[in-house]
């Protein structure tokens, strides 16, 4: 090629001449190489698609096993299965969330937090992700961080699954604030809680308990908690 390259044509440039044969050959071979690359690309893509399908199937299988193990209370088996589900299908948010939940329940807060923070990068306002992060921060005694995550959870959007109801998050937040003697904030949250309590005795009992606890810690303006009332047929309360 180099020898050919060095032979400058001395003919008039306007006169069409046959192309140097060696260059022609090299360009032809390059075109063949390109065609081979295209064929290799197509083949690799098909294998990748098959591999991806396999990974998704494996992920679903391990996730189902993890759910079953979690239901029967076998925490270690559930964790191992969720880990395999995440390893098989690294793009599935529900699997990662299940793993984070399992890790947090087993006390592996560090790893659970890393996974949740990564999920939060993608879904910053997801209710469950923020709720789980709030609980981890609360357990670690990081007051500001926990409060921030609780607030994001309270006013977030459900993007990853079935999040806990808002009043449950609020009850937990009030308890957390009382644990850390932040009585003013607890009072505010309790007032907000009253407005969103569902008409169930259990919810009212929890709210009453929190109110009593707050009053023990500091006499506060009375908070009127309406008693549960039966709903009217049109869905509204009388």
């Amino acid at each position: 090629m180099s020898e050919d390259d060095q032979q400058e044509p001395d003919q008039n440039e306007q006169t069409p001449l046959p192309r140097p044969p060696l260059i022609q050959r090299e360009v032809a071979l390059l075109v063949i190489l390109c065609a081979m690359a295209v064929a290799l690309f197509a083949g690799t893509q098909r294998l990748a698609a098959w591999s991806r399908r396999l990974s998704v199937e494996n992920g679903a299988m391990w996730f189902a096993r993890g759910e079953t193990a979690a239901q029967r209370g076998d925490r270690n088996a559930a964790l191992a299965a969720f880990r395999k589900a995440v390893a098989a299908d690294r793009t599935s948010t529900p699997y990662e969330l299940a793993l984070a939940r399992g890790l947090a329940d087993a006390g592996h807060d560090d790893e659970a937090e890393q996974i949740l923070l990564r999920l939060r990068d993608g879904e910053p306002d997801d209710i469950e992700v923020n709720y789980r992060l709030a609980r981890i921060a609360a357990r670690a005694g990081r007051l500001d961080e926990a409060q921030r995550y609780y607030n994001h959870a309270l006013y977030g959007i459900d993007r990853t699954g079935v999040p806990p109801p808002r009043y449950v998050i609020r009850i937990e937040l009030v308890g957390f604030l009382l644990d850390h003697d932040d009585l003013d904030a607890a009072q505010d949250e309790l007032n907000a809680l009253v407005r969103e309590l569902p008409d169930t005795p259990a919810a009212h009992q929890q709210a009453d308990a929190l109110k009593a606890r707050l009053e023990r810690l500091r006499p506060a303006p009375p908070v009127a908690i309406p008693a549960p009332v039966p709903s009217t047929p049109d869905g509204g309360a009388q």
Partner: protein, 437 residues
């Protein structure tokens, strides 16, 4: 239009052709690396499956090694081991000539072995496959010798970029390890090839990163002491691994020549026994590296996995199987770093970063100590994290590990492996190559 028909317009200059060839080779080598990785996954699925009984886990490495050993002895003797030493020899001593059979042999022998659970990496073989494909393309196009030689690092960097998804580190690896000259004029070609390879790799596999890495924070200046400790321990571990690997390999080489075909199977039997105790060390093992990076390991588990992975890798490699030490190096680096991070958390009187951050730095430290490519290791971890804050602790740990490893194991591992095969490649002047016998 008339101008297009003139000879000067049609004339394709050598440099332009080489540039085009570089792009095509980048794509082919990148596809080769992706195909290789996917084939290992497929082999793993077919050989071991998702929920294999214990006897299958124990026997699979041996059976795969029997097949691989026959292929290696009868047809593909150049496909043993990592592939990076062979690529260096092709560049420095053989004018870039590699037989296309090498790429095929590496593929056929490494895929079942790694898929069956041998503790070996896919990056080294990918580099050899990429370089062999590049050399074959150059030979087919009848390129002059100096151009053919230039294609070796081009193919190597493309394959590594696609295999590890770190194009900058791949280019640096080619310059630092394959060419052994950071000022090599080939940097342009290697960059073009690496970028082409990464583009096709991402087109096929998507943008999902190889590892999920934690956000890095230096919590306290005193934490640098913990990284100093990690660098020192990393250096010692690097020396231990290199000496262990070379010693075990020498022991296998002292066995009768006629046993060479069955040596990989002996290694396979030993790996089967190891996998019964610690199945986590099987194969490439990046899912466990990911777990270490996210702080998901207990101290005793991290230490156990680090030690067992070292032993398993030594056995797999020394017995003559086809596969690399690049990924295992990162594996035990992550475990060692994670262990140091967990100890620092327990002992340090100041706040320290999450163990995952130490695992990351540990990966770099072991890479610098074992592979002896400190610049590549710094940029590789930086490329994985994309975080400037990690650079200072990373450089501290890397340099300490590198210096300690260099002091007690003067020959870099790839040079020492070549020396065991009777090939001497001077570490001071890579071009001064002397082949014995």
């Amino acid at each position: 239009m008339k101008r297009l028909l003139t000879p000067s317009a049609w004339r394709v200059r050598e440099n332009q052709l080489f540039l085009a060839l570089t792009v095509v080779i980048g794509i082919i080598a990148g596809l080769g690396a992706v195909l290789f990785a996917l084939s290992i996954e497929a082999a793993r699925h077919f050989i071991v499956g998702t929920d294999a009984p214990w006897w299958r886990v124990a026997l699979a490495p041996c059976l795969a090694s029997v097949v691989s050993g026959i292929l290696l002895s009868r047809f593909f003797p150049d496909a043993r081991g990592s592939g990076i030493p062979q690529t260096k020899v092709a560049f420095h001593a053989q004018d870039g000539v590699m037989h296309p059979r090498v790429a095929l042999g590496k593929f056929l022998t490494a895929v079942p072995v790694i898929g069956a659970g041998h503790s070996m990496g896919r990056e080294g073989p990918s580099v050899q496959i990429g370089a062999a494909a590049a050399s074959w393309a150059g030979q087919w196009l009848r390129l002059p010798r100096e151009r053919l030689r230039d294609l070796i690092p081009v193919g190597a960097s493309a394959a590594l970029a696609a295999a590890f998804n770190t194009p900058v580190a791949a280019v640096l690896f080619s310059l630092e390890e394959i060419i052994a000259d950071m000022n090599a004029p080939l940097i342009g070609s290697t960059v073009v090839a690496a970028v082409s390879a990464v583009v096709v790799e991402r087109a096929i596999l998507g943008n999902e990163p190889l590892f999920h890495v934690p956000q890095y924070r230096l919590m306290h200046p005193g934490e640098l002491l913990a990284y100093v400790a990690l660098g020192v321990i990393g250096g010692i571990a690097s020396v231990a691994f290199c000496k262990g690997l070379l010693g075990a390999r020498a022991a296998f080489q002292r066995m009768p020549a006629k046993s060479r075909m069955w040596q990989p199977a002996i290694g396979g039997l030993m790996i089967g026994a190891i996998l019964l105790v610690t199945p986590e060390v099987a194969g490439v093992g990046y899912e466990h590296v990911d777990q270490a990076l996210n702080g998901g390991l207990l101290l005793r588990v991290a230490v156990l996995l680090c030690v067992m992975k070292m032993i398993a890798t030594i056995v797999s490699y020394a017995s003559g199987n086809a596969g690399g030490i690049f990924a295992p190096t990162l594996y035990f680096g992550a475990m060692l770093g994670g262990a140091v991070g967990l100890i620092a958390r327990q002992l340090a009187p100041f706040p320290v970063a999450a163990p995952g951050a130490y695992a990351l730095v540990g990966m770099g430290a072991l890479f610098a100590g074992i592979i002896r490519a400190p610049m590549t290791s710094v940029f590789m971890i930086f490329e994985i994290t994309q975080d400037y804050q990690i650079l200072v602790p990373l450089m501290v740990a890397n340099m300490l590990s590198f210096v300690i490893s260099q002091r007690y194991q003067p020959d870099p591992i790839y040079h020492a492996l070549l020396a065991q095969d009777g090939v001497s490649l001077s570490p001071h002047d890579a071009t001064a190559l002397h082949v014995e016998g």
